[in-house]
């Protein structure tokens, strides 16, 4: 889960990293008042979870509170790479002497975190790394040791950062560990004309698996732009909406991803990813079907289940009960294989719903669902 810039700023501040004074609002009137409190001149920054805000016109200076209100009015509601701007942050301007880049990222292949730092901050670090790799220091961090002042000094030295950044590097590691973050990035980290080290912009990605011990952001940060995704999330479903016409339900992340691909291979486009997991109870099946059927783009639905631990007759019972609960309005193709598949198929045959048909193979089921979507 990514945090908004203003949330990242708040975390940095709590961990003793200097940040510009700033406040957030969702109204132009609020922007005017905040600008007045901050002394008049401000930078108005769109709060969206995507990069390239500056280029899209989502970050603009304002000379006084009236200009801040006008600027906020222009930025609020803007679309930046598919994200609608709902809030702006107003920050006091900072007099920049130099810009740096620092981050801690997960190195998946090495199974540990990596410090990445560069004396060339303010721009796209991937671009710097591609064109001038020697300007970017990449230093692995031992999880048992963490980033001590000595370690931070080695990182700063390798990247050519001034010694004053050592304290920020140590505190940023504390943010990563204490907040269960998978990424903390400050870009740019600046040295002001007064010689202070300030985190001007930041990005933090939190680990969704750590929700049981990190509860502060709750649902605010996990908000869904898409209404169907929001509804699915409220039902506890593992659902991602896509832009196709074949609705897909399956058990197990790998098998569902594979089902999407096989449907695409048949010339149709998947409308969603929905993993109902190993248990696949009737309730989950009913919830899943109701979410998918309420997507107006869906023309047919494919249920692809391999009964491993779950028996297929239990899955079939679930589908039958779901059919009692949800009014089926679009054709449903079901493929059951594995444990007790014959009994599962018999259960569906006995129900004999006019819109439900069965297929014996995954490839055959995908072909049929694609065909139905094309002709419905």
């Amino acid at each position: 889960m990514d945090l908004y810039e203003h949330q990242a700023r708040e975390l940095f501040e709590e961990h003793g990293i200097l940040v510009p004074r700033a406040e957030v609002t969702d109204s132009p009137r609020g922007a005017r008042e905040i600008a007045r409190r901050l002394g008049g001149r401000v930078v108005v920054k769109a709060q969206v979870k995507t990069g390239g805000r500056g280029k899209a016109g989502g970050v603009r200076p304002a000379a006084d509170p009236a200009a801040a209100e006008l600027t906020a009015r222009r930025i609020l509601g803007m679309d930046i790479k598919g994200h609608t701007v709902g809030k702006v942050m107003l920050a006091e301007p900072v007099d920049i002497d130099r810009e740096f880049y620092v981050s801690y990222v997960l190195d998946r292949s090495a199974g540990r975190f990596l410090a990445i730092a560069s004396a060339e901050g303010g721009m796209d670090i991937e671009e710097v790394a591609a064109t001038r790799p020697e300007a970017v220091a990449r230093i692995p961090v031992d999880p048992a040791e963490g980033v001590t002042p000595a370690k931070a000094a080695r990182i700063a030295e390798a990247a050519g950062l001034p010694p004053q950044t050592v304290d920020v590097l140590v505190r940023l590691w504390q943010v990563l560990v204490r907040e269960d973050a998978l990424l903390v990035e400050v870009n740019p980290l600046v040295r002001t004309a007064q010689g202070r080290i300030v985190a001007l912009d930041g990005k933090v990605t939190l680990d969704d698996n750590a929700g049981f011990r990190q509860t502060r952001w709750g649902t605010e940060a996990a908000e869904h732009d898409d209404p169907l995704e929001a509804r699915a999330a409220a039902l506890g479903l593992n659902y991602v909406r896509l832009d196709g016409e074949v609705g897909i339900i399956g058990n197990g992340a790998g098998l569902v991803m594979s089902t999407l691909d096989v449907v695409a291979g048949c010339g149709a486009r998947p409308a969603d990813f929905l993993d109902i997991g190993g248990g696949a109870s009737a309730q989950v099946m009913a919830d899943g079907l109701s979410v998918i059927l309420s997507d107006p783009a869906v023309k047919s639905v494919l249920v692809n289940v391999f009964g491993g631990i779950t028996a297929c007759d239990a899955v079939a019972d679930g589908i039958v009960r779901a059919l009692d609960e949800v009014r089926l309005t679009k054709p449903l193709v079901v493929r059951l294989d594995g444990n007790n598949a014959a009994r599962g198929r018999a259960v569906l045959d006995a129900r004999a719903h006019p819109l439900v048909e069965q297929a014996t193979t995954m490839d055959g089921a995908a072909r049929r669902a694609a065909q139905l979507a094309a002709t419905t």
């Binding site: 048992a144 790998g254 631990i309 995954m362």
Partner: protein, 294 residues
Amino acid sequence: MAIHLTKESRILVQGMTGGEGMKHTRRMLASGTNVVGGVNPRKAGRTVDFDDREVPVFGSVHEGIDATGADVTVVFVPPAFARTAVLEAADAGIGLAVVITEGIPVHDAVAFTTYARARGTRIIGPNCPGLISPGQSNAGIIPADIAKPGRIGLVSKSGTLTYQLMYELRDTGFSTCVGIGGDPVVGTSHIDCLAAFEDDPDTDLIVLIGEIGGDAEERAAAHIRDHVTKPVVGYIAGFTAPEGRTMGHAGAIVSGSTGTARAKREALEAAGVTVGATPTETARHVLALLRSGA
């Protein structure tokens, strides 16, 4: 033979007395697996009855190893306690820890995989179905009756795709199937399993199943090119996954241009791996290669 797990394996179950632990210990025992004990400090000294088989509960992994000579542990404990459980197993000197638990924070996985590696404990998982050497032993939750013993080795990030491929190739059979898990940080990689299968005299052909996210498959491809002489058949899931969205598994996410299915397939094909377009086609490639005696 087989890899990492044989009929000689003596298995402890951490979290055996919980719901999932009970259910799957029963299944493991039913498939002939030598489960020698459970671990739960609050229930130490008791025994649990699984259909007339009495399994003792130990207060710690250390005690369990001392009493039974266990060399494998299967971990079912909830996410909040998994880190402590795995560190304890590594401290006790267990050879293999199979971590089934889904939802373990990445910082915990980083900590225990690093710690275990330094102590010579192999971790499989977390967030994995475990591994099975059909007819010999079953450490985890893979249904034991899908496929018979045989000479195919399988390594996969995904549980259900493992089941699907095992089912498609059930009559040919498997030496060992390893589900390495779908989390961003796992203890055992595709490469570890490829190397073990290459050395296993009872494995003739290797099936590698990957999915979007990270670069484990690309690294596996480089390893295959340089070190694997046995035929490898691959399958990759997630060609239709949008950028920046997590697809079920915590690690299944395309970030920018990295972790795409296309890049993985191309890397594998460049290394001489036959990659199937669907699980069924992948199984057909396996059968064709085995028939041609490659």
